[in-house]
């Protein structure tokens, strides 16, 4: 049998992406409106952030520039889930209507095929906004620019992304078992807002929950500590890439288990 390796999947994804972008460009009004909406969403988030800081000069010992870095970090880390895994939001509709079965008839990985169907361009604006914020905060704080630090930044941004993707996979895959999975997804998605704040503001039980049960502390806080406080990096930060890979893998297995468990009853 012919093998379908990583190269095959990359080339298929690229082809689907090009076709998808082509067809999106053909809806000009839709494209313009969603771009405008995306800018407004980001601005609104930023303004909230500014107002908050106007009133509290430091949060849990973090000053404005460090918080800004964390904010930008979380924006960039949330980009992949927005761009590449947005179809998770449609999963429950497709599962409930039975349309999901069509993804099982192609000789490719079901998870890949499902996610490849949607690429959300809006995420790119968020990426640009996030990078801008990181660069600004970077200069203000005066972090040196060395290849090692840049490499660390990229590795830990990817780590943070994996956590967010995994969270949404888990939340979306609940639809294979329960009907009200929409709420699960919305709750998970809301949780990401907490990622913009240093985890040290959460005390006791919340700190445990947000670190080990719903690991949003890994979406920005722990990974960014590697850059922000290079002299005092907690162990959790260093092992977060391993955690990220493991967590993503588990979420993928959970998602696929859902596909297998699902009865596809009715026609």
């Amino acid at each position: 049998m012919r093998k379908r390796g990583l190269g095959f999947y990359a080339s298929i994804y690229r082809k689907i992406l090009i076709q998808d972008l082509k067809s999106k460009m053909s809806y000009r009004a839709d494209f313009v409106i969603s771009t405008f909406g995306m800018i407004m969403t980001n601005l609104a988030g930023f303004v909230t952030f500014m107002i908050l800081f106007h009133n509290f000069p430091t949060i849990s010992g973090w000053d404005y520039d460090h918080m800004l870095f964390l904010y930008g970090f979380s924006l960039v880390a949330l980009t992949p889930v927005q761009c590449f895994f947005d179809n998770n939001w449609n999963l429950r509709f497709q599962v409930q209507s039975g349309d999901f079965i069509k993804y099982c008839f192609r000789p490719v990985n079901v998870f890949f095929y499902f996610m490849s169907e949607v690429f959300d361009v809006k995420g790119l604006g968020q990426l640009a906004f996030g990078i801008g914020t990181i660069v600004y905060a970077w200069i203000k704080i005066g972090i040196p620019v060395t290849p090692l630090i840049i490499a660390k930044l990229i590795v830990f941004l990817l780590t943070a992304s994996l956590f967010m993707i995994a969270l949404m996979n888990f939340a979306a895959a609940t639809c294979f078992w329960i009907k009200g999975s929409g709420y699960v997804m919305v709750i998970m998605f809301r949780f990401k807002d907490f990622a913009k704040y240093p985890s040290s503001i959460f005390q006791g039980i919340f700190s445990v929950i947000f670190t080990f049960i719903i690991p949003i502390a890994f979406i920005a806080y722990y990974p960014s500590l590697v850059i922000l406080t290079p002299d005092n990096v907690p162990l959790l930060s260093w092992i977060s890439p391993l955690f990220g890979i493991l967590f993503f893998y588990l979420s993928y297995r959970f998602w696929m288990l859902g596909v297998r468990k699902y009865d596809f009853t009715g026609s």
Partner: protein, 317 residues
Amino acid sequence: MDGLTGNEAVVMRNVCKDFKVLNRHEGLKGSIKDLFSRDYKTVSAVKDVTMTVNKGEIIGYLGPNGAGKSTTIKMMTGVLEPTSGEILVNGKVPYKNRTENCENIGVVFGQRSQLWWSLPLIESFKLLRDLYMVPQKDYEEMIDLYRSLVDIEPVLHKPVRQMSLGQRTLSDILAAFLHNPPVVFLDEPTIGLDVSMKSKIRELILGLNKEKNTTVILTTHDMGDVDALCRRIVIIDKGMKIYDNDIDHLKNYFGSYRTLKLKLADDTWEEMLIDEKTTDVMDVIMAKQKESKIKDVKILEISTEEVIKKIYEGSAK
């Protein structure tokens, strides 16, 4: 599996499929109870079905709604695993290696397009070519074959989302045959289509079956499809196979049945199905004549539709 000749496209032996269904209770109290309930009952969707489909055959897989047709198709396509029994499609167990099985089958689930919604058909074809790793030469040959069988130009550059239902079904069927699979499953392909589109689609399926010797397993409620395409039919009801034979045999079997149509005094037609072996048609007409004046009489051979109805009803007893 033993006793195979190598000419089989699909083999099913003693296949059963059970589903576990929660026993639901009524009212708010019942819903709360259900939350914690482990009270499942087992529903058998398919019971002990054995059948063989040979290469190049077009078979009609029929049955009333809820008979277990879709469940069988889902098992043959590798989406569902049978509870017990054996299935071989193209000599392999479909659910054990779903990806490999998918390379060798084509599937059309009527009314559910599997194409990329926003893409023109030709772009979908190119993506499918790459997904199934079809060599460029074979791909071009297939497109040429399509051109010779049906006028594809009007749909080729149209996004699927802008197509009429007929065009979309046509596109889905073309897409299912694109990688030249040995077996194609068509689930109600002509549902909701107009008469001319139906016949166009039937011609296309016949043409592709003839050119490529593709095995076609067709589920439908439209007896026109059966008459036009299938030489053999398999009927299941309540999960059990109740008929499996040639369509000619079917007509012979019910050959003594006649449809008698009588036009009564008030200009209404009364229709009845009569078995000539047990009842004399003339007796019926004479009996009726005593009740009302008869203006016109028609005696017709039984149609496939009525034969099937008869079988469905027979199994319901």
